[in-house]
């Protein structure tokens, strides 16, 4: 078993807490179960759950199982000491759960917090377990842009209705004209054709300059729009494809504050930041199976892909590599290196990737056009201070341009083609 021992320690603490809570309802009353839930979620859920075994034992009804609430309290506080004392129940729990030591919370959690946890465990209700099977089928997360399509259809329908109205009115007018003609015996007025097209032709002949202006206006507007449209081809900020696993950046980078670099470790080393490989996910998710059914479903997909069998606690199933849909895709002819920007340029991830902490699955934030790159190169000063590479150069630049000259990336040749295209 390669599960870190800390987790079991944690589980046993929680288990004890539950037992304590059950045996001493008066403590439970005095303590705050609501606060206990928070503490439990923050400290215990990596190894424990209510209603199922994770690394440590299932804590449903644990307060009823344990010898006493005091026992549970001391167990959570310092399970190692309890074990050392040769406590029978403790030894049995330890042996039943793979002899993995639980975290010692003495010093980490206050006595009141432990009491709160025990109070929570006494009332806690089971959460749903992870679904046993999971595919890697894509889940729709991006909201389809229906609005635009509908708008176009509405316009088409309106134009159609107007056309029908015009045709009907024209027919009516023509019939009336014919009737009038018959009555008066006069011929049709000059300037009225027999077909719509003739009518239009006549109208144009009569309003040459107005027509020309309209046409020119029309061409100008459409040119502007097509120019913008063409520039926008393949420029897809906001691109938010569905992903086989509905990964929550919000939960990881936002709620839990995991540094971007922890998973995208390539960003500091080389050109590719990299999508974390499943062993990185499993570092944490061996223990964390998800607090809601939704999360559990997604995490089960991770297990499926990694070939991890949660029941056995080992990689015994065949692996199924995850086929992510790529969000940031630079063309081959543009060379981009993450480490250059992250380590040397000290650029924050958010500058190009947006506020990922609020994202679910990743979406494109920057337009990733050359103009966008170049703009940043024009504006961003080079991080010369403290970098030995620039030491000599910096002196020379100061001499040449003076102390207060802001040396941007562009000054350093950062606009030259060969910096990115080879």
């Amino acid at each position: 078993m390669n599960i870190p021992s800390k987790k079991l320690q944690k589980s046993l603490v929680a288990f004890l807490a539950f037992v304590l809570a059950l045996a001493t309802p008066n403590i439970s009353n005095a303590a705050d179960a609501g606060n206990g839930q928070k503490v439990f979620k923050a400290n215990c859920t990596s190894c424990h759950a209510i209603g199922r075994k994770v690394v440590g034992p299932d804590l449903e009804g644990v307060t009823k199982r344990v010898p006493s609430t005091d026992w549970m309290f001391s167990w959570i506080k310092n399970n190692a000491a309890v074990l050392k004392s040769g406590d029978k129940y403790a030894t049995q729990v330890f042996n039943d759960n793979g002899k993995q030591a639980m975290t010692v919370f003495d010093g980490t959690l206050s006595d009141d917090q432990i009491k709160d946890v025990i109070a929570y465990l006494a009332v806690a209700k089971p959460d749903a377990g992870p679904t046993a099977t999971a595919g890697t089928g894509a889940t729709e997360t991006g909201a389809p842009e229906k609005g635009k399509g509908q708008f176009v259809w509405i316009i088409v329908i309106i134009i159609g209705i107007l056309f029908i109205i015009v045709t009907v009115l024209r027919t009516v007018r023509k019939s009336l004209q014919t009737v009038v003609d018959e009555k008066t015996g006069e011929k049709t007025q000059v300037g009225t054709g027999t077909t719509v097209w003739q009518d239009i032709g006549i109208w144009i002949r009569n309003h040459k300059s107005r027509f020309a202006v309209t046409i020119i206006f029309f061409i100008a507007v459409s040119s502007v729009y097509s120019w913008e449209y063409l520039w926008g081809i393949d420029v897809t900020p906001g691109y938010h494809p569905s992903q086989p696993i509905n990964f929550m950046h919000k939960v990881h980078a936002g709620d839990n504050g995991i540094a971007c670099i922890y998973c995208h470790s390539g960003a500091e080393k080389g050109k590719v930041a990299g999508i974390p490989t499943l062993n990185v996910c499993m570092n944490c998710h061996k223990g964390i199976q998800g607090s809601t059914p939704e999360y559990q479903k997604e995490i089960a997909k991770v297990y499926y892909a990694a070939g991890w069998d949660p029941a056995k606690g080992d990689y015994t199933n065949p692996p199924h590599p995850v086929q992510w849909n790529r969000v940031h895709s630079l063309p081959d002819f543009a060379y981009f290196n993450h480490s250059q920007h992250v380590v040397v340029g000290k650029v924050e991830c958010e500058k190009c990737h947006g506020d990922v902490k609020t994202f679910t699955t990743d979406q494109q934030f920057a337009p990733l056009t050359m103009g966008w790159c170049i703009n940043c190169h024009r504006e961003t000063p080079v991080q010369m201070e403290g970098n030995g590479y620039y030491a000599k150069l910096h002196e020379a630049i100061k001499q040449k341009f003076g102390d207060d000259k802001k040396i941007t990336e562009a000054d350093m040749g950062g606009l030259e083609c060969g910096k990115c295209h080879y």
Binding site: K269, A306, P321, N337, V344, Y389, G418, Y422
Partner: protein
Amino acid sequence: MANQKKYWKGLEELTASPSFVKAKTKEFVEEVPVDEFLGNQGQNPSSTSRRDFLKFLGFSVAAASLAACEAPVVKTIPYVIKPEEVTPGIDNWYASTYFDGQDYCSILIKTRDGRPIKVEGNTMSGVTKGAANARVQSSVLSLYNSERLTGPMIGKKKATWEQVDKEIGEKLAKGGNIRILTSTIISPSTDQIIADFKEKYSGTKHVSWDAVSFSGLMKANDGGIPTYAFNKADVIVSIAADFLTNWLSPIEFSKQYAEGRKVGKNKKEMSRHIQFESIMTVSGANADTRVQIKPSEEGAVAIGLYNAVAKQTGGSALAAPSFSDAKISERIDKTAAELVKSKGRSLVVAGSNDTAVQVVVKEINKLLDNYGADKSINADKACYLRQGSDEDFAELVSDMKAGKVDVLITYNVNPVYNAATAIGFTEAYAKVPCKIALAEVKDETASGANYICPTHNYMESWGDANPYEGQYSLAQPAIYPLFSKKFPRENVESKYEGTRHAQENFLKWSGSETPDYYTYLQQYWKKSILPEQGSEGGDYMFIDLWNKTLSSGVFEKEARPRVMESASSLSLSDAASKISAAPKGGIEAVLYEKTGIGNGNQANNPWLQEMPDPISKVTWDNYVTMNPAEMKEKGYNLLLDDDRNASLVTVSANGVSLSPIPVYPQPGQARGTIGIALGYGRTNAGKVANGIGRNAYQLVQWTNNTFQYNVANVTVTKAEGTYKLAATQTHHTMIGRPVLKETTLEEYKKNAAAGNEEEKIPVMLGSKSEDRSFKDVNLWDDYDSKSPVNMTNNAGNLGLRWKMAIDLNSCIGCGACVVSCSAENNVPVVGKAEILNAREMHWIRIDRYYSSDLTMEKAKEENMTESHRMYTMMEASSDNPEVAFQPVMCQHCNHAPCETVCPVIATSHASEGINQMVYNRCVGTKYCANNCPYKVRRFNWFNYYRDEKFLTVNPAQESNEMGRMVLNPDVVVRSRGVMEKCSLCIQRIQVGKLKAKIESRTIKDGEINTACAQSCPTQAIVFGNGNDPESRVAKLMDDERNYLLLADLDTQPNVFYMTKVRNSDHHLLSE
């Protein structure tokens, strides 16, 4: 004056053939082939009219914009469990060893995301010292050879390893005569495994045999080849040994040779090299004095030299031989005098496989006192690079013929292809009841075997090597075997049965306790090679030492004194009489190895096929080389161009004939001789090599119990028809402008700037014309940082300024840079048909110039100003011209003519001095190429990676899953319609700079290196930051020999050249 020499690249230029004149000023020899690249299969190319063109244009615009509207969904699949050492986008380097029975090289393999993509020399090796040649560079592509076997075969059927092992086990258990035929094995652990196998099966005999044999040299040296040190010789005499590209250990020797040949501020002496030979070899081309002899005279030259040296050192003379040309003996006397003068600091080597010749050469070296630990020959340090015995091989063949061999195991040999017809191996092979081939591909020998046990490529293998006594190196896999049944890390199974280490076959069949070769290798090294460890912590110490050795690739320990085998060599007088009795007469043929293809074992490698031969500049073929004057007499086509193809001939000797084979004029070839390259005419090598050229191994002779590669009494008769040879020699010519500068050592000692006089151009000043330096009439602003006037507000020019120095004195023309560049920069292979159209894509070319002493002055004196007469005279001097090599790549001009004409600014100048090329901006007007005076720009006429026309030749084809793996992911694969050229390996510069920035330090000199400079075995190319006064390149910038190519155009290149210095003997002759 040396710089008034007339240089020419080929006879076409020398004689000013009409098509050459027509083509030389053009960047593109052919008209634009619109038909070809618009027409695809199914379409009649000639039917593409202007209307069709417009239709295509319209359609493609519409299609492109439609396709562009929706961004394709790109999948990204990360590892499931990432291997610890792999970070996507970052290289891993593994030290390993290359030995294919021909070249030994300690190497580093660059892998990217698990794929080997480049081979470079290992600077930690005491043998090859960081050098690598074209064949070693190319070997990475052989890993991805799509013809490789994927699983064992019984007869013609696929089988499983269990079946094969079971059946072979039964066959072996029956006993009988088992023979193992291998090429030279320098792996001590493999030797041990074979010894174990022999112990298990007592009827086993191991026969070593090399395709190009060194038996004669071995026998003459009492069974063991000594160690040579060309850097320790002031006078080097080679009798037909092409030690720079083929003989024994060319990588090592060229490095040593260059060491003795380099001159500079503090070294005004260089070694002198005299070459006696019949064909023009690379070594001969680099020689200071080259003497033409007939192949049969090699022995006579040796005896002549012996006599002349003996006369001066007091030895007894042998019977004096006679020569076809009186000049030869005159030359021999002069050479002997020089040798004696440098007694103890000289070296005589011979390429002959005749024991008698080698005995005489050995005695010459003894007379000259060249043997010793710190002298040019060290007989105490054994060289293990060739161990093949022709006698053993002949015995094996006769045993096979007599039906005495029950089981024949062949490993790393292909005798059905490359054993001489005279020995009759093929017939004998058919008589062996059980033939087992351990081979990577189903070659000529393996396809006739009963069992084929496919082996790993060397990049997938563990291994060790012991090239010289006391010097060891390890080989480690750089990739998991491509064809494996199981991939344990990924926990998946493949459809292939898989390959295995050749050694594992022997281990398995002999029932070893450690059937895993890696375990065996470790145990063997622990026991026999690495120093013994004490019992306490021994394992730990061993693992530590093993890991260190694996990381550096090499291990050296004190050499054991050589154990002399029975001295079986000939006495000197016997040798002399054998030499005089050797066959001679008629037309004599030399069967030689080409620099690229070598003995032919990598013939299926398109990089090697496409690499122009350093001398003939012919690609994709072998041919008969012949003296041009003789060809004229015989009425063969001399000038090969669009209209005239090479004549075809039939070459026959001793009942074997090659037909038809084209004839190629080779200036410098001795009259009455022809040369044919070995390694061609493969039938089962793979789709690249099959059917290219003719198999010259058939003509190899069996004389005096050795294979002889010189064949006397050859008949050459004209055959029907003509043939197109794809030679690059007159492509991309610089129209005879003065690009090559050279001087003699004598002149150089007097004046370091000799031969490098500044050119002046006539300038009109008022009404007077005056000769001024081009620098005075410069219209442009200077870019160089040394005069920091420009680059306003740009801090860039304060930092780096990339410069490249090319020392013409060190360049031996071997072509390692060409292949290295192709590998690094994804340069497409275009195939013979396109090279015929002068559309080769190599970013670096090596111009080979012939020259003669005839100067304008001389011509005037002799009243030959009329050009026709002058050329006629020069044709005579083309009999034995001097040769010079000049690598030319983009010169990265500061005033680049290409940059000013590009309508879309696809090519521009960087502040670091690099002329940049942006492929995705290029619209293919080709203005730049037309305006480039150096003709270094290459146009992509096709989508080489997609067009089916290049399916067989281009390894990077999209449909070729294997070949594509060799592509460097940092460099774009260029598509049709764009221009490309040398980028000074800008991807390496960028990575190098980034590394320094991350580590917060300045760039170390030599840390950033271009592929060509890195691979150059003689370090003729030096690359670095010219703004760093301590860099090697900055020091060379101050050298008096440096000059710019076509300096008078004032393009101010960042690449500069160093005058060639010949240690010529004009002064000796006039004595």
